[in-house]
Symmetry: C2
Subunit: 184 residues, 2 copies
């Protein structure tokens, strides 16, 4: 459960910055939705940890587990705060957004065209993360979103991918999406 919380909180931070960069309220709403999931898991984890402590007559593991979970929960709260900026009406300064985009690790958005080698292949088959450094955070397909896709998620023609990675990896990633590069 802690690992699940860790993974969701990291996705939330990435999505929060994405919502900011692309001034996208749908992504910001997802961050809020994921916060509910984190909270559920958090309370379940506390309960289980304490039950286990009573069983083992040993508080040590429960104390650490709950401490770590509390820290992770706090990270997810901060992600909500960041996303919340987007849900309000004062837009952040464009210079700020540009500098987030141009930092070493960036977030980019690209449409997959029909002649891309990604089409009909899963993220796992493509080995995108280990071969290009780019992580797909979310996919916009038609009018819905797939947030936090897994290695079994299949890319379709027309998908819009939201990806995070090193700025040097962006061009290759975009060329893969548009079919210009034929090799991952």
């Amino acid at each position: 459960m802690l690992i699940q919380m860790k993974n969701i909180s990291e996705l939330m931070v990435d999505l929060a910055y994405s919502s900011l960069i692309f001034n996208n309220k749908e992504i910001a709403e997802e961050v809020k939705y994921l916060e509910e999931k984190i909270d559920e898991t958090y309370y379940k984890l506390q309960e289980e940890a304490i039950k286990k402590a009573i069983e083992d007559k040993n508080p040590a593991s429960a104390v650490i587990l709950i401490r770590l979970a509390t820290s992770i929960e706090a990270i997810s709260d901060s992600a909500v705060e960041i996303a919340d900026v987007v849900l309000r009406d004062i837009p952040p300064h464009p210079v700020l957004l540009e500098s987030i985009k141009e930092s070493d690790i960036t977030i980019t958005r690209q449409k997959v065209t029909q002649d891309s080698i990604m089409v009909n292949r899963t993220l796992g088959e493509l080995n995108l993360a280990s071969e290009t450094g780019m992580w797909v955070l979310a996919i916009k397909r038609g009018d819905h979103w797939i947030f936090g896709p897994t290695e079994n998620t299949r890319i379709l023609s027309g998908d819009i991918l939201l990806a995070k990675g090193p700025i040097e990896g962006v061009e290759h990633f975009k060329n893969l999406c548009t079919g210009r590069d034929k090799k991952v």
Copy 2:
């Protein structure tokens, strides 16, 4: 300044998990040290933002900037909390650490041997992040650490690299460090 805070806070979270995985107090201490840097930047940013608001007679940008900085500062506080677990004496359960290591994004540690192609090349020259997905978070060189190396940081024989990336990228990364793989 906000981008600097964002980058440091992300490094702090990664280092906090690293200190946990490798039960390493030196890394945990660095997280605490970085917190001081974050706080300094945070107060400077608040001051500058408010000065600018007075100059422009417009509160909007300052409000958003300070809100974002506050959220980032909160993330760095959580990283300190995580690292603090390591600085105390109750070690987390090995099963927990194993599952952090085996999550999709993992943290690994590897020594660079003298016949590695990395030796005497900078991280920028190697394009490690975009070619392998692995980010070097820190380097242990002799008895000191280089935390948050840049693209100009040169790898030396005997360095111990602490890197974060997709679990599928770990083997290639380790083989590059030991000289078994000769091509990034």
